[in-house]
Amino acid sequence: MKQVLKLRNLKVIFPTNYGIIRAVESVDLDIHERECVALVGESGCGKSVTSQSVMRLIDSPPAITRVDTLEFDGRDIKDYTPKQMQEIRGKEMGMIFQDALTSLNPVMTCGKQIDEMYIRHQGLSKEEAREHTVKALELVGLPEPRKRANSFPHELSGGMRQRVLLAMAFACLPKLLIADEPTTALDVTIQAQVLSMLRNMQRGCGTALLLVTHDLSVVSAIADTVYVMYAGKIVEKAPVRELFATPHHPYTVGLMSAVPRLSDTERVFTQIPGTVPHPTQKPSGCYFHPRCQYATAECKKEMPPLKTIDSNREVRCHHPLSIRGVSHA
């Protein structure tokens, strides 16, 4: 399979008055054609910064970004000028965001905002662009697309707005789509619709998808490969089925057992003890050790490397779980 994105050793630092925030530390990411990769983690673990760095949308200053390799579709876009990036963004690399209401310009009709994509990247006239827009809106299942195109974002429901964003993101059939928490702000029933729409569009257009989320049910529904992030580092990478069957990192196990199941007879929520470390004061050794019930002296001293196990999985842990023979949730 052809590789769409190859990211090596991404580091993003925000110098602030309170100290230096290492938002992303040495993250590697591989996304192949037609693959859906999920980036999972708690709030503030650096997953949004990572995804925006892929599109080079993080402003610097204030951020300081270092990356060894940023290859997109075989091209090294690490040193592309802002103008060159503008040509790629939207056209070959799309992005949709969590809150569709604030992600759409409030004083511009939805149709016009999609028109912009065709006018900018395909050089169409306003009238031609509108025809394409209506078709795109129809494709994402928006009722009365021609009329809706003249609606302002506040006149649509949350689900409709997310569909508008989907139509916009897929307008130029990008090779890679980054979806940053695309379903978080929606009702559960609408979530399912938008997710299946996202999945169908992705398959239909042959787009690779980078899904940023904290919602494991979303991950299990559409992802192929999962990266788990904690405090700015990738802690585990695995194909989705294997990850859910045998999570190796204690943090992954914690995340999974924190999801309440209908089959649970006792209504007790399992939670990971402690809190995420403050970004300016990360602990020594393994960042997860203060919250890890299996932590040893070695964990307190030394940050474990990302080790490859079972040929297609990677885990950043001195004592990966199933290898130690501990049963997991």
């Binding site: 925006q52 599109m55 949308l57 802002p82 990036m85 503008q86 040509e87 790629i88 963004r89 939207g90 056209k91 799309g94 992005m95 965001f97 809150d99 604030t102 992600s103 759409l104 310009n105 409030p106 004083v107 511009m108 912009e116 994509m117 900018r120 990247h121 302002f152 506040h154 006149e155 964003l165 916009m168």
Partner: protein, 332 residues
């Protein structure tokens, strides 16, 4: 939905205006408005009877010889014909004539100040916002901090002293023949511009910085909005983002502050006009105040409040054109 909103707004403004007219009429009448009081104490060797007669005649002349309620109806009737009453000045000139005579001279100052302040201010604001944290931005921040601390009349006095008396670049004091000799000739217009330079400059400094600060804050607030990130992710060109997405949304607060400054246009800058001896509305109001000329004061106040209501109405209607969300609150 939009039309009902517009009609509602217009009716609301009319209602407010009627309330203002009523208050404007009754509030002065709580105190002493009797035109006859002007002749107190009796002058010279005037006898008690003569004095009483003069008082009665004066009251009749100004329509104060009927009940307050009747006076109010007469006042409304006069207003409908554009009659603001008679001034207490000698010769009883109509208030509207006095205002019409002075208003253009105030507008010369206030409109030029507004245009200069708005155009230069918005430009400065956009520059400061795009160069956020750089020297242009710091300069604006410091300038506006200093401006808040310096009263307008102080700037006017300094300009009058240094540019007027010391360097003699512009007249420190308005030529008293300027108004009388004005005949729309090029030379006359040049004289007005020459005389208006310092008053306009002293008001424009604050106006420019105020508009610049407002624009800067609005632009920065919009730049941090999520939809600007979306626009960037769409690969739009820098200028498309700046003009179609950022500026369009930043216009809303700018329009608000513009509406507020429009309402100040005709009030005149009482202090600035005094400093430069400029015969405008501000000076007229001060004259009315010093001579207890209630009809004139009432006329000026009414014009001021009417203009303010109109400015707010226009601002609201422009908002409908600029921001599609405005009518939503009305519907629910």
């Amino acid at each position: 939905m939009k039309n009902t909103y517009v009609i509602k707004r217009i009716f609301y403004s009319l209602f407010v205006f009627v309330v203002v007219i009523t208050l404007n009429f009754f509030i002065p009448r709580i105190g002493v408005v009797d035109p006859a009081e002007r002749y107190y104490p009796p002058q010279g060797n005037m006898s008690e009877i003569e004095y009483e007669i003069i008082k009665q005649v004066t009251r009749k002349q100004y329509g104060f010889d009927v009940s307050t309620w009747q006076q109010y109806l007469n006042y409304l009737q006069g207003l409908s014909k554009g009659d603001l009453g008679k001034s207490f000045r000698p010769g009883s000139p109509a208030v509207i004539d006095l205002i019409v005579e002075r208003l253009p001279w105030t507008l010369v100052l206030s409109v030029s100040t507004l245009l200069i302040g708005l155009i230069i201010g918005v430009m400065f604001g956009v520059v400061a916002a795009t160069k956020r944290g750089r020297w242009q931005d710091t300069l604006l921040l410091n300038a506006s901090t200093i401006m808040v601390a310096i009263p307008g009349f102080f700037i006017a006095l300094m300009l009058s002293f240094y540019l007027g008396f010391e360097l003699e670049v512009f007249p420190a004091y308005t030529d008293s023949n300027m108004v009388a000799n004005f005949d729309w000739s090029l030379a006359a217009i040049r004289t007005v511009a020459y005389n208006a330079a310092l008053p306009v400059l002293s008001m424009a400094v604050g106006s420019i910085i105020g508009h610049a600060q407002g624009t800067r804050n609005a632009v920065i607030a919009v730049t941090n909005e999520d939809f600007i990130l979306t626009a960037k992710a769409k690969g739009l060109k820098q200028n498309t983002i700046r003009y179609k997405h950022i500026l369009r949304n930043s216009m809303l607060p700018i329009v608000t502050s513009l509406g507020m400054s429009i309402s100040g246009l005709i009030g005149g800058q009482v202090v600035i006009e005094q400093v430069f001896n400029w015969n405008g509305m501000g000076t007229l109001f001060l004259e009315a105040n010093n001579t207890n000329d209630y009809p004139l004061m009432m006329g000026i106040m009414l014009l001021l409040s009417g203009f303010t209501i109109l400015a707010i109405l226009i601002t609201d209607l422009v908002y409908v054109l600029l921001d599609p969300r405005v009518t939503v609150g009305d519907k629910r």
